[in-house]
């Protein structure tokens, strides 16, 4: 059972299962397959499989890494070259092998290794995957929500974060800017703000922008989006509560005093349109300070200008550092793969004879062939031994 659970066969089955489920999930996005129990179960099985496999592989890896000339035995087919010990050793050194040597009654055993990084790489990669999965598990407990406000406003933390930060944590939005580059293209959006945690000012005049979120402990504040609102001051309505300043989103109708009001940019200029069921709609381009008639009873709308609303995403992150540590290890492991394949030469020679018997090992048969070709070029191969 344990053998099967840690087997490569199961690994291939599970990886294939994850791949197939992912394909189906992108074709049927509504099924939300990635949060289904069957998907989670397969990932858990994958984790166990990889964990067990790694536990079994590591001791073997360690042994292989610390193998010495004493471990050289006459095992399997070898090739014989007409080279003496000095010549072989010189060749190994020239090719940057690390060498272990043992002499016994005139015979010499040599173990030559190269590419230990490549040998360690899969194990490090496997461990990094385990770490990433553990971190990902924690990060499923992330909580996030949005806070949106106009410059000058103080906005409480979103509902989702209140269980941790209470009712008195807030962001006070000091400024919102669109930053342009030399070509006048949008380079970034930046919000400056004060941060209050449990009513206490903990960060003053700090900024968050796209690609550079603000971090306070586990709390991340992202520049998520922004919006421009048309500020319309209403006066003269019967219900006093309706006489206030409205911030209308772009091109979205709102009902004010029984009228439908829409504000939008038309040819780059602000335009306000008022309509009801009786009169035909009236609209005009506006400048700050312009007054429009709202109703027959004398209510008015004064256009005050536009205001920028910054939309911030607040997130309590958990496990991200674990995932990032896994990412770092995975990257290091990837570079280690690229440093070249592990290869091992086991050599029996010595006794003053001009003869070396060499067993060559690598995961890639191409590497073995290359090494044997190189050796044969140096010393025309005399024979193959079974």
């Amino acid at each position: 059972m344990l053998k099967f659970l840690s087997s490569l066969k199961l690994a291939v089955i599970l990886i294939a299962a994850i791949a197939v489920m992912s394909v189906l999930a992108t074709i049927f996005p509504d099924a939300d397959a990635f949060s289904s129990w069957s998907f989670r179960l397969v990932v858990i099985a994958f984790f166990i499989n990889l964990g067990l496999c790694t536990v079994q592989l590591l001791p073997k890896f360690w042994k292989q890494l610390h193998r010495t000339a004493a471990d050289v035995t006459e095992n399997g087919a070898c090739k014989v070259y007409d080279a003496d010990e000095a010549a072989i050793t010189a060749w190994l050194k020239e090719n940057h092998y690390s060498i272990s040597r043992e002499a016994q009654n005139g015979n010499v055993k040599i173990l030559a290794q190269k590419g230990k990084m490549g040998l360690a790489a899969p194990h490090l990669l496997h461990i990094s995957l385990l770490i990433i999965l553990i971190g990902a598990l924690f990060s499923t407990f992330n909580t996030e929500g949005f806070a949106m406000g106009q410059v000058g406003q103080t906005r409480p933390f979103p509902e989702e974060l209140r269980s941790v930060y209470g009712e008195t944590s807030a962001v006070e939005i000091l400024d919102f800017q669109t930053v342009y580059d030399e070509q006048q293209a949008v380079d970034n959006w930046v919000t400056r703000f004060n941060l209050y945690i449990h009513g206490e000012l903990v960060a003053q005049n700090v900024e968050t922008k796209v690609n550079e979120p603000y971090r306070y402990g586990n709390l991340m504040i992202y520049q998520n989006s922004y919006d421009y609102r048309y500020l319309l001051e209403v006066q003269g309505l019967e219900d006093e509560a309706d006489n206030t300043t409205y911030g209308l989103p772009d091109n979205q109708a709102a009902t004010i005093g029984g009228q439908t009001v829409v504000a939008a940019m038309v040819n780059g200029k602000p335009y306000v349109q008022i309509s009801d069921h009786v009169n035909a709609s009236r609209g005009q381009f506006v400048e700050p300070g312009d007054v429009l008639t709202l109703t027959d009873t004398g209510a008015t709308i004064t256009y005050l200008g536009t205001a920028a609303y910054s939309i911030l995403e607040l997130k309590i992150r958990r496990g991200t550092y674990i995932v990032f540590a896994g990412f770092l290890l995975a990257s290091i492991a990837s570079l280690m793969f690229l440093s070249g394949r592990y290869r091992e030469l086991r050599i029996l020679t010595g006794g003053g004879k001009k003869e070396s018997r060499i067993w060559c090992y690598s995961k890639s048969s191409m590497v073995v062939e290359e090494i044997e070709e190189e050796l044969a070029e140096q010393w025309p191969k005399r024979q193959e031994e079974q």
Partner: protein, 274 residues
């Protein structure tokens, strides 16, 4: 200078089409010299590709990795370069017959897309993204050539290893083809891993989530899983050779779907790339 892009792209396309034709003729006529000539034509194509890449870099004042066109162009560059290296190393010109069609199709797409230079949106202005996209390009280039080698494998396999067909004769042995594909995937996968990792880090900073199962992300993961299966099945009995070649083909189908299919067929965060 912007107007220079299209003519250069056409020249590049012409060179790869020409190389394909000469490879075809060389194999059909069993003329090795002709195959060498075809490889020279690939060098010409590579020179044009380099020229467009450099021109584009100058035009945008940075690495040409910002949109679908630039990515595709870099993809062609790396795939052609990977082919040239493999060709030189193993002197297997006949593989060109299988690599060139990929380059030709990509070039046809490149000459058809909009070449105007649009400003890059703020979220894409990140160093993480530069590493993310460059490693993607490198892995895709390696996978493209491994795909071609595997297709060659399957065709040769179908006609029998020692068949008298002109194509089978001009290709190296099945074992060598299998090993070359393996080697390329072994190089491609680490870059794909780096692509996934840097993409996730960038997403964490830009969008606030290192992974959100958006279709492009998911397909990149699927690609990675297919190639992981490829590498692991090599340790199992009976998976070298034909089955491995099919897995390599499947992997490249996933690559292409991640690049084109997701952008054109499925909606998602990444769709602005094309």
């Amino acid at each position: 200078m912007e107007q220079l892009q299209l003519p250069l792209l056409w020249l590049m396309l012409a060179a790869y089409v020409g190389a394909l034709a000469v490879y075809g003729l060389g194999i059909w006529s069993r003329n090795e010299k002709m195959q060498h000539l075809a490889t020279k034509v690939v060098y010409v194509g590579l020179a044009f590709t380099t020229a467009v890449l450099l021109l584009r870099s100058v035009l945008i004042g940075g690495l040409p990795l910002n949109n679908g066109f630039e990515f595709g162009l870099s993809f062609v560059f790396v795939a052609a370069l990977a082919y040239v290296i493999i060709e030189k190393r193993f002197s297997i010109g006949a593989i060109g017959l299988f690599v060139m069609p990929i380059l030709v199709v990509l070039c046809c797409w490149l000459v058809s897309v909009d070449l105007t230079i649009e400003p890059v949106m703020p979220a894409l202005r990140s160093y993480w993204l530069a590493v993310h996209v460059s490693s993607a390009v490198i892995s895709y280039g390696a996978f493209a050539v491994s795909f071609a080698v595997s297709v060659a494998y399957l065709l040769k396999d179908k006609s029998g290893d020692n068949a008298q067909s002109r194509l089978a004769q001009s290709l190296p042995s099945l074992k060598v083809l299998d090993e070359i594909a393996y080697k390329l995937i072994f190089i491609g996968l680490p870059f794909l891993t780096i692509m996934l990792v840097t993409g996730a880090v960038w997403a964490e900073y830009a969008w606030g989530a290192f992974w959100s199962w958006d279709p492009k992300e998911t397909w990149a993961l699927i690609t990675w899983l297919v190639y992981a299966i490829y590498l692991h099945t090599r340790f199992l009995k009976g998976f070298k050779g034909r089955r491995a070649a099919w897995l390599s083909v499947l992997g490249f189908v996933a690559v292409i779907f991640t690049f084109f299919g997701v952008s054109y067929l499925l909606p998602g965060m990444h769709s602005y790339l094309v």
